[in-house]
């Protein structure tokens, strides 16, 4: 049921070119994300090779198909009236979209991808949780947990994983801390506390979830607005926040740092 509409826009004429463009644009977009480092924001580095391979393949595919189309147009001008037909497809599917739509949708999406750069998730995405939600990293296996690490070398996620394995906060009291992350102002924390936090992804941004530890300041947290990236040095202690005992960093030195090229942890 190949529908040939007698309108100005004939899918049979333009469709193949839209398709070629769409495939090409996606190939370039995937590689562009890689070159610009934005792929870091979108997916876990394990899959970079996969996306890059896909990008290259899509570009080649588009080039092949484009060359073939050009060749055909050239040929059909030459042999306009000699009708040699080859066996070809009859299609009797029912499609979700009218012909041409899919290719157009793909093309538009790729163009949007060029125009709008992806955004690193920030405190607004993390805010909809409670402090306790930041701690249990149930999705992560303890195998990533390295006890051998010195406390001051642990990253934020290392700390959270360590806590997941052995949650008693008193066990860590007095240990040195040196972590980097961004600031979240949780409304249910007192005025001189904020959360130092990072997003963790296992696959892609769709599963990004925040982890974090409360930080105790000597003054109000308003000096450190949300989403500021900080490096915090200090000492661990146990505080009672809400009605829960909570491992807390008592900050000695707080330094502002630029947003890392790769904002997530794994």
């Amino acid at each position: 049921m190949a529908v040939q509409s007698p309108k100005l826009f004939r899918f049979s004429t333009w469709g193949p070119w839209i398709e070629v463009l769409a495939v090409f644009a996606w190939g370039v977009l995937l590689l562009k994300y890689w070159v610009s480092g934005e792929l870091n924001i979108l997916i876990h580095p394990n899959f970079f090779a996969l996306t890059n391979g896909t990008g290259v393949f899509l570009i080649l595919l588009a080039c092949y198909k484009g060359a073939q189309l050009l060749h055909q147009q050239w040929r059909s001008r030459r042999v306009r009236n000699r009708g040699t037909r080859t066996a070809t497809a009859a299609t009797d599917h029912i499609t979700l979209f009218p012909p041409g739509w899919s290719a157009t949708i793909l093309l538009v999406t790729a163009l949007l991808g060029f125009l709008i750069s992806p955004r690193v998730f920030a405190s607004d995405k993390a805010m909809m949780r409670n402090v306790n939600d930041f701690l249990p990293v149930t999705q992560s296996q303890p195998q990533a947990f390295r006890t051998a690490r010195k406390p001051e070398e642990r990253s934020l996620i290392d700390w959270v994983r360590t806590l997941t394995v052995y949650p008693e906060p008193d066990a860590y009291t007095g240990q040195q801390v040196n972590v980097q992350g961004f600031v979240i102002h949780l409304p249910d924390l007192p005025e001189e506390y904020f959360l130092i936090s990072r997003f963790v992804i296992t696959c892609c941004a769709a599963d990004a979830y925040p982890v974090g530890l409360p930080v105790k300041l000597s003054q109000s947290r308003s000096a450190y607005p949300p989403d500021t990236w900080l490096e915090i040095q200090g000492e661990m202690s146990t505080e009672v926040l809400g009605d829960q005992r909570q491992l807390t960093i008592v900050a000695n030195s707080i330094q502002e740092i630029p947003e890392p090229r790769n904002p997530y942890e794994y």
Binding site: L39, S76, A89
Partner: protein, 362 residues
């Protein structure tokens, strides 16, 4: 507000970027294997016992790593070439899930919850085998299937079974030539047609080339021409599937991203935490969001934090079997009544299994 939109867009793009390689892989496989696997031979190896047949039919997906769009044409060919109903239906329901690419992508998404990967397989196999066995009680499928398929089935029980699909394809071809083709090119696909998820193009050529090898009608095609034609068919098929499935993927990802960002969190949590409501919600989502089974794990992933594991399983098992898109495709095989049966039975079985999991393990 702008931030929300930007977050949603990032989520949307991350889903697409993560899913595209798997989609491409699935498309490449389904296009390539059509050239190499001879269903007729396959059928002759399958045992007669309906339950065993259904189980094996369900597992054929390992040979045809196709998603729910590629499996319908294959299931139709299986039926037309004389496979028993239990085999064909087992394949139809399980192949989109029980295949290496889908297992890999599910594993990629749910590395931290391997039980989802395993149970997705087990549940799909179980449901497909059960339904395949149920349908085996219907000895004569003729009243269930579309007339064209019924005719081919009738013929395939005779001696000249290979002729049936050829005749069918060529006759329908002649009605549908695109103007481009009539202008005398060697274009083997029809860009004017809505899509070619179905491999009819490949099928026709495949059969022609097989005939050629045997010295039949197709023998006129020289070897290198044959190769370049096959390559073109392959590319055509890859592009057509990529285009169509890509479009669906874009929609699915958009829906996932919007729900993630826009739906009120209270609602999502209250829906997602209930052992029954979460499954019902995900069943509906699975039927509506016709996202391809090679990539639907990533879609489900974005609900992993808020929805029960059982409901994610329900989505991953039921979605590939029945959704809006595949119902459309299945209409090319079945009449409405058996489709309703398929829909209801698989929905109920998925619900029960997922609920059992939810109640037992969480």
């Amino acid at each position: 507000m702008m931030n929300q939109v930007h977050n949603a867009f990032t989520l949307f793009m991350s889903l697409l970027v993560e899913a595209l390689p798997f989609l491409l892989l699935g498309v490449l496989f389904s296009s390539a294997l059509l050239l190499f696997v001879d269903e007729k031979k396959l059928i002759s190896f399958i045992p007669r016992n309906p339950v065993l047949g259904a189980l094996i039919g369900s597992s054929i997906g390992f040979l045809f790593p196709v998603c729910e769009c590629g499996n319908v044409p294959v299931a139709r060919r299986l039926l037309m070439q004389g496979a028993s109903p239990s085999v064909a239906i087992g394949f139809l329901l399980a192949a989109p899930t029980v295949n290496p690419i889908v297992i890999w992508s599910t594993w990629t998404a749910f590395r931290d919850q391997p039980e989802i990967v395993v149970l997705r397989l087990v549940f799909s196999l179980a449901i497909a085998t059960i339904i395949g066995s149920i349908f085996s009680f219907q000895k004569d499928l003729t009243p269930f299937v579309q007339p064209m398929v019924a005719r081919a089935m009738g013929q395939s029980s005779g001696a000249k079974s290979w002729d049936a699909p050829i005749k069918k394809d060529l006759s329908s071809d002649s009605e549908n030539f695109s103007p481009l083709l009539q202008s005398g090119t060697f274009l083997l696909g029809t860009p004017g047609s809505p899509q070619r998820l179905d491999a009819t193009t490949m099928e026709t050529m495949l059969l022609a080339s097989k005939a050629g090898n045997l010295g039949g009608a197709g023998a006129a095609i020289p070897g290198d021409r044959l190769f370049s034609q096959r390559l073109r068919l392959f590319v055509e098929n890859v592009l057509a599937e990529l285009r169509e499935l890509g479009g669906v993927l874009v929609f699915g990802s958009a829906i996932a991203a919007i729900i993630q960002v826009a739906a009120p969190r209270d609602l999502i949590i209250s829906l997602g935490q209930g052992p029954v409501t979460s499954i019902l919600a995900m069943l509906v989502l699975g039927a509506v969001v016709s996202i391809c089974s090679t990539v639907d794990a990533f879609f489900a992933l974005s609900f992993a934090a808020t929805f029960t594991t059982g409901s994610l399983l329900a989505f991953l098992v039921f979605g590939p079997m029945i959704d809006i898109k595949s119902i459309g495709l299945m209409m090319s095989i079945f009449k409405p009544k058996p489709l309703v049966y398929l829909f209801l039975i698989s929905g109920q079985l998925t619900f029960l299994l997922a609920l059992a999991y939810n109640l037992k393990f969480s």
